[in-house]
């Protein structure tokens, strides 16, 4: 879902255009119907302003709008529990996800799609090796003391022989890089991150990817 769908393209955000059939006209006293509708919708039809206290038009409109909005407010106040079947299905699906510890997992309509963690690691390494200035790239486990939250979340889902954690469509990959001497090491590190993330998103369809880069050596 992209953000565009949440707004009305082509309509200025601040300018309320008349709806088909025309906007509600102002009352004979000049009061705007929209403001009275808002007042009633908020349940404040009884809190009259100075003008409204002496205006039969406003009072009649507020009574009408209040009656119209009363069932809306009643419905909004109703408790809606989560159906037990939904809760059970969510628990079952999550158990399935965590059972696929060493695979990414996408539950599509036609069945599950799994990509092994070692394949994820391979994609990241191959992409990182394309970065100018990155001479050698290996996977390497993150030291527990430096693990961040995303890493901690996938810690139980790490392939024993690969420096990658996967869970659902999330992956955390660790890469150890030997850079060419004289290169801007920060730029090399960022380049490795960007290439690896782009490749994992494009090739493995992963949503949330974190790539930790350690430049541990330089080569001349």
């Amino acid at each position: 879902m992209n953000e565009q769908a949440m707004t009305d393209p082509g309509q200025p955000a601040d300018d309320i255009q008349p709806l088909p059939g025309g906007a509600a006209p102002p009352l004979p006293c000049g009061a705007e119907s929209d403001e009275l509708i808002e007042q009633a919708a908020r349940g404040r039809a009884g809190q009259l302003t100075g003008h409204q206290r002496g205006c039969p038009h406003c009072q009649a409109a507020l009574r009408e709008f209040s009656l119209v909005w009363e069932p809306v407010r009643n419905l909004a106040a109703e408790q809606v529990p989560l159906p037990a079947a939904v809760r059970t299905a969510v628990s079952r699906q999550i158990r399935e996800l965590t059972a696929d510890a060493w695979y990414t997992l996408e539950l599509a309509d036609g069945g599950a799609i799994r990509i092994a963690a070692r394949v994820v690691a391979r994609i990241a390494r191959d992409a990182a090796r394309q970065v100018p200035g990155a001479r050698v790239v290996f996977g390497r486990s993150t030291r527990p003391g430096t693990a961040g939250r995303a890493e901690a979340a996938t810690l139980g889902h790490r392939h024993p022989n690969e420096a990658v954690g996967v869970m659902g469509r999330t992956a955390v990959v660790d890469l150890a890089v030997t850079a060419e001497y004289g290169q801007d090491l920060d730029a090399v590190g960022r380049g490795v991150q960007e290439r690896a993330i782009a490749a994992l998103r494009a090739q493995a369809g992963l949503n949330d990817v974190m790539v930790n880069v350690t430049i541990g050596d330089v080569a001349t």
Partner: protein
């Protein structure tokens, strides 16, 4: 410790892979996901699918959740987007037709039947609003969220949210006036 602080603790535990912590988050916020889906989609069947999908997606995306918003705001965003995806898949243009298509069940007390009719009418009228107005009306008038939060959830602006609210209230008022 406030509710949000407890949520953040549960989120941290769930991020560490504790399923029981996430189960507690589902108990607390699952009704929110289902309620919003129900109001946006207007029927229980689609709402159940979307709520389930959103709660599983939230678990999958949890490692990427940052505490710069509350868990509930984050979940509102996930469920709203998924509900709108569902709307675009199955256009509910026929929703308004349901206004005049409510049969009374034999044997029910008259008051219950009247209440059911009213609930159905309001549900159909909300579900018939254009999506941006529907989201604004549901999040503001049903969930009680301020415009700023709605703008954050929808990736929109406060003036745009205000505009959708005005239009949505106007349309809803007109529809329900005609129904009465």
């Amino acid at each position: 410790m406030g509710a949000e602080a407890e949520d953040s603790y549960l989120v941290r535990r769930a991020q560490e892979g504790y399923l029981d912590a996430y189960a507690e988050l589902v108990d607390r916020h699952g009704p929110l996901a289902y309620r919003v889906a129900l109001r946006l989609l207007g029927n229980h069947h689609d709402a159940e699918d979307v709520a389930q999908d959103a709660l599983v997606a939230a678990w999958q995306q949890l490692p990427g959740f940052r505490a710069n918003s509350s868990f509930s705001t984050w979940l509102y965003r996930i469920v709203t987007r998924r509900a709108l995806n569902q709307v675009t898949r199955t256009r509910t243009a026929e929703s308004l037709d349901r206004l005049g298509d409510v049969a009374t069940a034999a044997g029910e007390p008259a008051r219950d039947v009247e209440r059911e009719l009213t609930v159905d009418a309001v549900t159909a009228a909300v579900a018939a609003l254009p999506p941006p107005q529907r989201v604004a009306i549901v999040l503001h008038h049903f969930e009680g969220l301020p415009n700023q939060d709605i703008a954050r959830i929808t990736g929109s602006t406060v003036p745009a949210v205000r505009s959708h609210l005005f239009r949505g209230r106007r349309t809803l008022t007109r529809t329900l006036q005609e129904w009465r």
